[in-house]
Each structure stands twice: as structure tokens, then as C-alpha cells.
């Protein structure tokens, strides 16, 4: 019994090894000219849902622009996807595996924490990275190799504070997740901006990662009776927070940042989600930008052609992170073209000078590597759908 | 044993051990003198092992005092919940609380074996004995860890080997303790206790589970180690042949109380003992 089991075990391992070798062997066999672009995104874990939407944007971009011509030679662009599992420890190995795949540039990641963690590795290996939706200032700060196509949390916090005050909310409560830099950071920026502009913060509550019972903190919020509740958090947390708040009879507007633009929140929170407000990078119904209109049309067709992607995307809606993923890919292509070669160092140089009109507006990077953006879209949930409310500009 | 050498080594004074409402040892007093072999006998559940556990520091007595070579090694009086529950005697006589942990008792020179053998089963015979030398090691943690106490370590090993030779286990020194035959395990447990260089050896049913031949060998073995190591021995035993053969004096307890004491002949003819052992005639 034991012996045969042991044998089985060894055989499985051997098989695994063989398969592993085989799969890596195939990649090197083709003699086609290839430029590899790393996709460093979470497909599982806390941010798996959003991460996948971002990947979809990149995959779609790859079908739109699958090759690039450099000096008369056509190079095929190959996406090398790794899953960082929304986990910093995994992120390091995942990033390392991208490095050993010899990618020229990296795209991602959804979730600032993993981007920060991997940033050092990209920097060390001198591989430029383009973040799509990581909004924490720490991602690009002090890292010459990290760029991003989205706006930053201080900006987003200010936008939401402006919006709250404009809509007549004089008192606000802030709920943040402990140990999460996105949530704590954004909450903090909102708090500062809101108080600076004359609002009053009446309650400040925190909850722990994986906590699912928010009744205690919500009871406190209810007692403070705010007009506006700002609760930036993950997609997983959102429906729970919304439903429990409504159950306790809280009627104030609940608002959050870009992460909440995900249909799973509407699916899970149902009618309670009505009236929720969030800021985001992009609106699919914004027809002012022709690039965006074209992207939305093409992306929807791409989704329809891939039923699996469609179901994981949660329907036909075009998420802002997909648009950002697309823009990140396109900025990379622009930079490769400008550099004229697939050398990472040259691409990094080129990125500092790239200007490109993307789906989410015009993109150029400042000295930190952040996209210069001055506008955010505010959306609300109405009739079970995300609806464009207004745009907010901050000077 | 002749009268002029009566130096008390171990003295139990009014020891009562009570668990909740159950009195396991009731007001037990006994003396063991230098060079004696004393047996503590009694029917199952009489409280013999409990008495051993009090002497070796496993339990703090509820009331009473234990003296070893004239020094108090354990003393206690009923306190807390026991103060109201206490069912023993001599309440209020003892006022100090002395309860050293078992390792300190061993360091003072009392070694013991256990009713159900407690060897370090996955370690070798040699290691089992060598461990007893650890408590007297002079080297501190770091010098031991960095093996700077080479000479001391070597001495510990030599002493252990010598001991194994004296108890006839040298040829088995690299054997895993658990693999030894039963009789050898008993012998090893005694050897391990001897390695702590005790003055007083407590044997808890050393012949349990042995056949007559093995018991006979054990008798000779106990006599021999007593002589070789200049020991005083207190033992619990059910094998009456062994007890009557080897003991200088015998204490008989039943239901925690002392019912008789004296030489083997005196005890054998004591009516109280006969009553307690009725039907357990051996």
C-alpha cells in the first residue's frame, strides 16, 4: 500500500516536471520575432474580479495591435500573464517569474499593494512597468521604472470631497479597511480634503480584512447621523457594507472610489445598491471622445466572441479598469515604437516623453511617472446599472 | 539492620494528600534510615504512588512535611478550598509552604522509577542515561551550545558508559530504548535513575509484570546496586516474595492510612495486614 502510494507520488512529480519542461520548451522553439509584454495582475484573491477585467482590456488591446514594426521588422507582441493573487508575498515570485521570462515591459497591477511590492523588482531588473489602475501615490514615488495611466488617490479623494460638498452633504463619515493601503490611503485623502473645504467628519470607523460583520461600526455611524458615507474598500466588502447599512436603517449616501465600479456589487447588494456613488476613470457612454467610442464598441464585440470572458466580466458592461488596461497596453506600444527597439531601458526613456490619446483621455507622464489627469467621472447606481452622473475637474 | 546506624534519610511527617473530597493519603508518617531497604505495600489504590509523588514533588501535600537528610523538602497546610474541605488530621500543625518542582528534588539526591515505565523511548540506551548527567552540568547554555565544554561532556559520557557497564547494559548502549525487552527496560529505568547519583532511590513496582525468574534476577540486581552505589531504597511492590526477601522494614497502608509497620516477619503476622490482604495471599 505504502510503497505503491509512494511510487504514485514520485510518478506524479516526475510527470509534473516533464510537463513543466515541455511547456517552457515550446515557447523558445519558434523562430518568430517576438516582444514579450508582462501582464502582472491578480486573477484570484481579493482583487481577482477587478484584476481579470483589467486583463481583458489588455488582451483586447493585444488583438487590436498584435504586432509592431521596428526598423522594417515585424515583431509579434506576446502577453505573458502571471497571477499575483492579490497577495504581496505571491507578487514577488510572480514578478520574478516575469523577469525570468524576459519581458520588455510590464503592465499592471490592479491593487496598489502588489504593485508597490513588485516595483522594487522591476526597478532592480531595470524593466519599466505601466500601472493601469493602481492609484496609491507610493507606487511610482521614488521608482523611476513605474508609470501609470490613471489618476492618484489624493486626486480621487479630493474629487469625492468636492462632490460631497457640492451635493450638499455637510457631515460625512469615513469607513476604511485596516491594513489595506488603498482603503486607508483614499479614506485619509478624502478626510483631509473634506475638512479643508469646510465639511465636518462626524465618524471615522475601521474594520479588519476579512471582516464580514459591519453592524457594530455601522451602528456608530448611524448614531453620528452623517449625510454622506465614504467607504473605499474592495469589491468583496462593498455589498456587505451597503446591505448591512440599509438594514440598520441608514439612509445617507454611500460613496467610494474606483474599485466599486463592478457589476458584482449590484448583483450581490441588489436593491440596496441603488443610490451608491463612486468616482471612476472612464464612462462607456461618454461619446465626446472618439477613441473611447471605438473602444467600447470593439471591446463589447470582443467580449461577445468569448463567452467565458463575458461571464467573468459580469456581463457586457465596460469597466473603467478594462479601458485603463487597454490604455496601458497602448502606451507601452507607443513607447516601444518611440524607442525603436525592444530594449527595456530605451522603452523607459521613451515612456517619459510619450503623449498618447487614449480611451480615458490624453496620457502623458509627469516626473513621478504619473499620468497627468485632471478629470474624474462620478457614477451612481440606478435601476441596477451604473449611470453617469457628472464629471468633476480639479485644477 | 543494626541499631547503631539509624540515621534517618527520609522522613514523612503527617502527610495528607487530598484531591477534592477524596483522601488519597491520610496522615502518613514514615522513616527510612541510611542503608535500609524499606518497602511500602498495600492493596491497589491504597495511596502508595501518591505518597511517592508527594516525595518527588509531583504533588504538593495538602498537609504535612517531608524531610530529606534533615532538611525540609516539602511542607504544606490546607489552604483555599481545602481549608474547609480538609478531612485529614493535624490541621494547623504545619504553617510553611515548601513545594519544589520534581527536578529540584532530584538534584537533592532522590531518584525514582515509575509504575508504568517512562523511558525516553525513541532515544538510545546510552542517551537515556546520559540525560541524567545534564542537571549537574557546569557549562552554561552558550558554552554547551558551542561545545566549549568538551572535557565535561567527555566526562559525562565516560561516567554514563561506566554506569551502563556496572548494570550490564553496555552491549545494548546504541539500541533504541523502546526496542529493549521488558525486563531490560525496567533495568534501564533503574540505571537511568542511578545516573543522577542519588542517595535515596524510590522504586515504584519494579517487578510489575515480571515472571518468577525475572523477579529473582531483579532481587539480586537491587541488592547489588544498593551495595555498589551505597544506596537507601524505598520501594512499592506487590510481589510479596521479593518484598519479604529484600526488605529490612515494611510499611503497610490501606485507604491512605498506615495500618502496620515492622520487619517482614512482624508484618506477615499482623492481623490488620492479613485482613487488608484477605484473598490476596501470595
Amino acid at each position: 500500500m505504502k510503497k505503491s502510494l509512494a511510487l504514485l507520488l514520485v510518478l506524479t512529480l516526475m510527470l509534473a516536471l516533464l510537463a513543466g519542461c515541455a511547456s517552457t520548451g515550446n515557447a523558445g522553439a519558434s523562430d518568430e520575432k517576438v516582444i514579450k509584454i508582462g501582464v502582472f495582475e491578480p486573477v484570484t484573491g481579493e482583487n481577482g474580479g477587478g484584476g481579470f477585467q483589467e486583463v481583458l482590456g489588455m488582451r483586447y488591446a493585444n488583438t487590436k495591435v498584435p504586432t509592431v514594426d521596428l526598423g522594417g521588422v515585424t515583431y509579434k507582441i506576446e502577453l505573458v500573464e502571471v497571477d499575483n493573487k492579490s497577495d504581496k508575498t505571491e507578487a514577488v515570485t510572480a514578478a520574478q517569474s516575469l523577469m525570468s521570462s524576459k519581458v520588455a515591459v510590464v503592465l499592471g497591477s490592479y491593487g496598489s499593494g502588489v504593485s508597490i511590492a513588485a516595483g522594487e523588482i522591476f526597478k532592480e531588473n531595470k524593466i519599466p512597468a505601466i500601472g493601469a489602475s493602481c492609484t496609491n501615490p507610493q507606487v511610482t514615488l521614488g521608482n523611476d521604472y513605474y508609470f501609470r495611466v490613471c489618476f492618484l488617490d489624493p486626486f480621487q479623494g479630493t474629487v469625492m470631497a468636492n462632490f460631497a460638498l457640492e451635493s450638499g452633504a455637510k457631515n460625512a463619515a469615513v469607513i476604511t479597511q485596516l491594513g489595506d493601503d488603498y482603503s486607508s490611503g483614499l479614506g485619509n485623502f478624502f478626510l483631509k480634503a473634506y475638512e479643508e473645504k469646510g465639511g465636518t467628519i462626524v465618524a471615522q470607523e475601521q474594520f479588519q480584512t476579512n471582516q464580514t460583520d459591519f453592524k457594530a461600526i455601522l451602528t456608530n455611524v448611524k448614531a453620528a447621523n452623517p449625510d454622506f458615507i465614504f467607504a473605499p474598500s474592495s469589491i468583496a466588502t462593498a455589498p456587505l457594507l451597503i446591505k448591512q447599512a440599509r438594514e440598520l436603517g441608514i439612509t445617507a449616501t454611500i460613496a467610494a472610489g474606483d474599485t466599486w465600479e463592478n457589476t458584482s456589487i449590484i448583483d450581490n447588494a441588489g436593491a440596496d445598491a441603488e443610490g451608491v456613488v463612486l468616482s471612476t476613470f472612464f464612462d462607456e457612454n461618454d461619446t465626446a471622445n472618439p477613441v473611447a467610442a471605438e473602444f467600447v464598441k470593439g471591446f463589447k464585440e470582443y467580449l461577445k466572441a468569448n463567452p467565458d470572458s463575458l461571464s467573468k466580466n459580469g456581463g457586457e458592461g465596460v469597466a473603467a479598469v478594462s479601458a485603463l488596461g487597454y490604455d496601458a497596453y497602448m502606451s507601452a506600444i507607443e513607447a516601444i515604437k518611440a524607442a525603436g527597439k525592444a530594449d527595456p531601458e530605451a522603452i523607459r526613456e521613451a515612456l517619459t516623453k510619450v503623449t498618447y490619446t487614449g480611451v480615458t483621455g490624453s496620457i502623458a507622464f509627469d516626473e513621478n511617472g504619473d499620468a497627468k489627469k485632471d478629470m474624474a467621472y462620478i457614477k451612481t447606481i440606478k435601476d441596477g446599472k451604473f449611470q453617469f452622473l457628472k464629471t468633476v475637474k480639479v485644477g | 539492620m543494626t541499631e547503631q546506624t539509624l540515621v534517618p534519610v527520609l522522613e514523612l511527617k503527617d502527610i495528607t494528600m487530598q484531591f477534592g473530597g477524596v483522601v488519597a493519603v491520610d496522615n502518613l508518617s514514615l522513616q527510612v534510615h541510611r542503608g535500609e531497604i524499606v518497602a511500602l505495600i498495600g492493596p491497589n489504590g491504597a495511596g502508595k504512588t501518591t505518597a511517592f509523588n508527594v516525595v518527588t514533588g509531583v504533588y504538593a501535600p495538602t498537609n504535612g512535611q517531608v524531610q530529606f537528610k534533615g532538611q525540609t523538602i516539602a511542607e504544606n497546610f490546607p489552604r483555599g478550598k481545602m481549608e474547609t474541605l480538609y478531612a485529614g488530621q493535624n490541621k494547623g500543625v504545619y504553617t510553611a509552604k515548601v513545594w519544589p518542582t520534581p527536578d529540584l528534588i532530584t538534584k537533592k539526591g532522590i531518584a525514582r522509577t515509575f509504575q508504568n515505565i517512562r523511558l525516553f523511548k525513541n532515544m538510545t540506551v546510552f542517551e537515556n542515561v546520559l540525560i541524567a548527567k545534564h542537571m549537574n552540568m557546569k557549562a552554561g547554555f552558550f558554552s554547551a551550545a558551542f561545545h566549549l565544554n568538551g572535557r565535561e561532556e567527555e566526562q559525562m559520557r565516560q561516567e554514563s558508559l561506566k554506569l551502563l557497564e556496572m548494570v550490564n547494559l553496555l552491549d545494548l548502549k546504541d539500541e533504541i530504548a523502546d526496542n529493549l525487552p521488558y525486563g531490560k527496560q525496567r533495568r534501564l529505568e533503574i540505571a537511568r535513575a542511578l545516573a543522577t547519583a542519588p542517595d535515596l532511590l524510590l522504586l515504584d513496582e519494579p517487578a510489575a509484570g515480571m515472571n518468577p525468574q525475572e523477579t529473582h534476577a531483579l532481587t539480586a540486581f537491587i541488592r547489588q546496586i544498593k551495595k555498589d552505589f551505597d544506596l537507601t531504597i524505598l520501594m512499592i511492590e506487590h510481589h510479596m516474595n521479593l518484598v519479604m526477601d529484600i526488605s529490612d522494614r515494611i510499611y503497610v497502608i490501606d485507604f491512605g492510612e498506615l495500618i502496620a509497620t515492622g520487619t517482614p516477619e512482624q508484618v506477615q503476622n499482623d492481623p490488620a495486614v492479613i485482613a487488608a490482604y484477605l484473598g490476596v495471599d501470595e
Binding site: 514577488v92 523577469m99 511590492a117 | 538510545t124 545534564h134 557549562a139 537511568r192
Partner: protein, 390 residues
Amino acid sequence: MKLNNKKTYPMLSIAALVVLAVLLILLEINKNTFGMAVSILQKSAILAIVAVSMNLLNGFTGLFSLGQAGFMAIGAYVTAIFSIPTETIDSVYYTGGLAPWLKAMKVGLDVLPGFLQISLGILAGGLVAAVFAALIGIPVLRLKSDYLAIATLGFSEIIRAIISSPQMDKITNGSYGLKNIPGFALGLDFLPAGIGTLLVPFSVAGLCIGFMVLVIRSSYGRAFMAIREDGVAAEAMGINLLKHKEISFIISSFFTAVAGGLLAMFMRSIEARTFQITLTYDILLIVVIGGLGSITGSILSAFLVTAAKEWWLRFFDTPLVIGGVTIPLFRTGFRMVIFSLLLMLVVLFFRRGLMGNREFAWADLLSWPRNLSKKASSGPKTGKGGKKND
């Protein structure tokens, strides 16, 4: 550990070490080509330290502790605070800033070369963990095995909660984690550029494990094992239980924290969430597969499990297509299922793990082919079951 009379073949050991060193240096020089291997080796070396520390406690002293993640967190945070370059400290603590006294300490330490600052940080991390271990050990180590497990696990969660609490913002940067932690090669200015990525973790691991092996082989190590085998009997042999359990707990925690410090350097950025219970479980997996009570088993297992988990078996997570047919089982998460099944298999059928409680010896390796043929002819000799240490 048996006091066997096997020949030790010191020449072979030295040769093996030299070969290992040469291999490591070769890998380092070509680390652009072997990036993945280098990264796996770094992580394995770090986990090997934790695995051996856990084994010292669980396998040799018989104390079932599940507090590893907490002690690693302590080590990681202390090391990080010591080693983040002072000039970038404000950008790391961008919300609240670093506590003035810590900043003053960092400015003061800047007179030392970076390499020394980091070493000091790792040492300090170990010492802080050792102090914590000593303090909580006094009440907790009296507990029976399973209560000890839960209590240490609880302790590890407390540490994590404290680290991420807003009240600690000025020290641990609370929710935001720490970044800009220098990697292994940084600070070693006296070596050629880039050298150290492997040498540093391997030599630290060598020192740590070496020390623990020395302890285990000393009289104290025997006392630990005696406690594992039978606490009551050990006490009757004059061994002070609490003192020896404390020593074992402190050493184990010290080295766990040192490994935590190395992990911080490996990851370059840390947050409290890194040190969850699953981290402890991962290490337990390594120890159990390697064999409770075998140092070489733990080391071997640390390398095997890490490499398999992070590298070789990664393809379990990606869809496998053979001849145009997609094999259904292969998708994200399958790898971890395989690993948990492997653990259960070891626990249920190979309770002794890879090495049981034996250690690697050249003599065994050299006589292996002979033994193998002997075994084949005489049929398998079943050893005793798992160690009895209840």
C-alpha cells in the same frame, strides 16, 4: 539524533560545501538568466531557517507552537525599520511620518555602513522576538500541547493586529506597510556589484541552522528531546521543564524572526497581511513533509516544497492543452489543492515524512545502493510508526 558511529567523511562535506558555493556564485553572476532559480533559492533558504526553528520546537522539544508568522512579522518589521534608507523614510511614512525617537535613532545609525545597519536590524529583530517569546513563554509554555498551539496562534494574530493598528502608525506605518527595504545585494559595497543576492541568505541560513544543530547536539538538545519523549520522566531526571522549554522557545523565536527579517529583504516591501496564519501553515507543511525531528529533512523539504510550489508545479494553475484538448482540471488554484492533498498523504500514510527523525549522513548515501538491493531481497522492513510524543 542518534549517537551513531557512522563515519562522518569530513572531506566529502567540505567538498560539497565548496561545490555549493561555486554553484551559488555561478548562479549569482548569471542571475539575469536564472532569475527565477535565484529567487526560489533565496526564498527556500529563508524558509529553511524557519522550518528548522519550528522543528527545534515542535519536533525536538515536542512543543506544538503555531506562532511562527507572528515572530516573523516582528523580525520583518524591526529589520525593515532599521534598513530603510533614512533619506527615503519620509516618503515611506507618507501619512503620519516616523516617530521622532526612531528617526533620531536612524539618523544616529547612519554613521555605520549600510551593511552593518541591516545586520544590526536583523539582530535587533531577533532580540525583540526573543524578548517577546520569553515573556509570553512563562504563562503559555505551561499549557498542554494543543492549548499551546491555539495560544501561540492567538499570539501571532495579536501581533498582526497591533502592527496594523492606527495607534502604531508612527512605528509600523499601520495599514500602509513598509517599502524601500534594501535587497540582499545592497549595502555590501565591498563586494563586486550585485554579488550577495544568494550569498547573504545562504550564509545567514548556514549560520542560523548551524547554531541550532550545535544546540541540538549539545546536552541541552538531549534535554529537549527528553522533554519531548516524556516530560514527567525528564523532570524526574532533574531537568527544569519550564527553563528548558523557554530556552527552546526563545531560540526558535529568535531565528524565526531572523528569517522574518530576511523575508522582508526578499520581498522589499511588507505589510501586516503578509504574516497571516496561512504562512504558519505553509511552514508546518514543510516541516511535516521533511519529517518532524529531522533537521536535514526540514532543509531538504524547504527547498523541494518551495521550488515545487512556486516554480515546477505552477503549470497546474494554467490551462493545459495537450493535442488541442484542454485538460479540465488545470486552472488557478489547482496547485494548492495538489499541495494540500500531498500534505494529507504524508500525514496519513507517510507519517515520518521524507526523513523521519533521521539525519542525512554520507555513510547512508554511500551505502545506499547496497542497502537498496539488500532491502529488495529481504522485503521492506517496516519501521516503527511515528514518534510517540504525547
